[in-house]
């Protein structure tokens, strides 16, 4: 019997090792696994590398994890936003490393890892500082840079509905990075608003099939 439901947030994030690469879903305020981020503080893993689009806002969720000094390095496209105060403080003091990656390349690199590929050639960032140090190659008359797969040890996800097999759905733009990050980590953990019976989700509407999900915990927010 397949049952990926766990009873608590602590069970959900249990075993996250120090030094882990943590994929943290969400865009703006939508689809953020805030409860899981906060559970990770309690769990205690340190020296993390976080991959996320933004670098947290306010003092909750990812920002709380940053404030607890558990994150050595963040790979993201747009660290600043209204309320990214924790990140900005740490950055100004040189207490967090930032790797800036064009937004579409972050997700394409994660998909590349998810798909078992070794890398891809992309025209994005050619001629800019963000292409420095990357292998360049002309293909069909256009310059490309080689981008490498980006795999997570852990993915933290936020979904709307989920069942015991780990099938997930999202609401509206809260889908964002969740499906790709679910595929791209060794251990994918979802907080879901509603755990439903197996079969309640229409097979045509499953956005993340359970094969990509390892644990889910109900967090009705």
């Amino acid at each position: 019997m397949i049952d990926k439901r766990v009873r608590s947030l602590a069970d959900a994030v249990a075993g996250t090792p120090d030094g882990a690469v943590v994929l943290c879903a969400g865009f703006g305020g939508a689809g953020l696994p805030n409860a899981l981020c906060e559970a990770l503080i309690e769990q205690g893993a340190r020296d993390l590398t976080v991959v996320a689009n933004n670098a947290g806002t306010g003092r909750t969720g990812l920002a709380a994890l940053l404030a607890a000094r558990r994150v050595r390095r963040i790979i993201c496209s747009f660290p600043r936003s209204a309320g990214s105060v924790v990140f900005e403080e740490l950055y100004a003091k040189g207490e967090i490393e930032l790797e800036l990656v064009p937004q579409g390349i972050i997700s394409e690199r994660m998909r590349c890892a998810a798909a078992g590929l070794g890398g891809f050639y992309s025209p994005v960032s050619v001629g800019t500082r963000l292409a420095d140090g990357k292998e360049h190659r002309e293909i069909d008359g256009r310059i490309h840079v080689l981008e490498k797969p980006l795999k997570g040890d852990v993915a933290l996800l936020a979904a709307d509905r989920g069942d015991r097999w780990g099938n997930l759905t999202y609401r509206k733009s809260a889908r964002n990075f969740n499906p790709t990050m679910a595929m791209a980590a060794s251990l994918s953990i979802a907080q879901v608003r509603h755990i439903v019976e197996l079969g309640e989700i229409d097979p045509e509407m499953v956005i993340t099939p359970g094969i990509f999900v390892d644990r889910l915990v109900e967090v009705p927010v």
Binding site: G28, V126, T180
Partner: protein, 222 residues
């Protein structure tokens, strides 16, 4: 009189073709959504995974699961749909969007675009989807104030700031003019009523040339 920001957005909106798929960048370009001519069906794309961005919701209709790239609540139009982020950028990078309207710090006469970092060391840089959009959409147009608050020109011979992409901008909408980037340099298509060409040139670092059919840019009061 120079255009206000709403008028710049209005002017850019007038050029949108019926049926076009368009991405609006954060800031000034986002305002274009408010001025789309009523006779045209334009599909607005938001990088976080929305095709068919609708107007801002009423106060009672806000749904924080439905936001745009600027993280503001929006609505979805009839016929709109959701995709995940990687598919959203597949649309962007794969040439599926007809047009991206972007903001800029600087644009060069060659169409180089600088819009992602001012290199201020106290300020973490943020690139977002700018580089993906700049190389991926079928056409790039920029909305920008003609000069900085300090009066420095934003339309330059060469960009001083780090590039987002080289040679991608095709049209520039400013508070003073509509300017095309052509193989022969920058061509002024429209200029606001009370600014003459020498004045416009004086506020522009790059060399400008008037189009043979240059016209007056007369926005409505907005």
């Amino acid at each position: 009189m120079p255009l206000n920001r709403r008028q710049i957005a209005w002017r850019a909106a007038q050029d949108l073709a019926d049926g076009a798929y368009v991405n609006l960048g954060i800031g000034l370009p986002t305002m274009v959504a408010d001025f789309i001519p009523a006779d045209r069906e334009i599909v607005l794309h938001s990088e976080n995974g929305i095709l068919g961005v609708g107007p801002a919701p009423g106060d009672n209709e806000i749904d924080w699961d439905l936001i745009n790239a600027g993280k503001q609540p929006i609505t979805l139009v009839t016929g709109g749909s959701y995709v995940h982020h990687t598919d959203s950028f597949l649309m962007i990078r794969g040439g599926h969007l007809d047009l991206a309207l972007l903001g800029a710090f600087e644009v060069s006469e060659a169409g180089d675009l600088a819009n992602w970092t001012t290199d201020d060391p106290s300020f973490p840089p943020g690139v977002g989807g700018a580089m993906d959009l700049a190389v991926g959409a079928k056409e790039i147009r920029v909305l920008v104030e003609h000069t900085t608050r300090a009066g420095a020109p934003r339309i330059r011979r060469q960009c001083e700031l780090p590039l987002t992409a080289a040679g991608v901008v095709r049209r520039i909408y400013t508070d003073l003019a509509v300017i095309d980037v052509t193989a022969g340099g920058l061509v002024v298509r429209e200029i606001v009523e009370d600014v003459d060409f020498p004045t416009l040139q004086a506020r522009t670092e790059a060399m400008l040339r008037p189009a043979p059919d240059i016209s007056v840019l007369r926005p409505p009061a907005l």
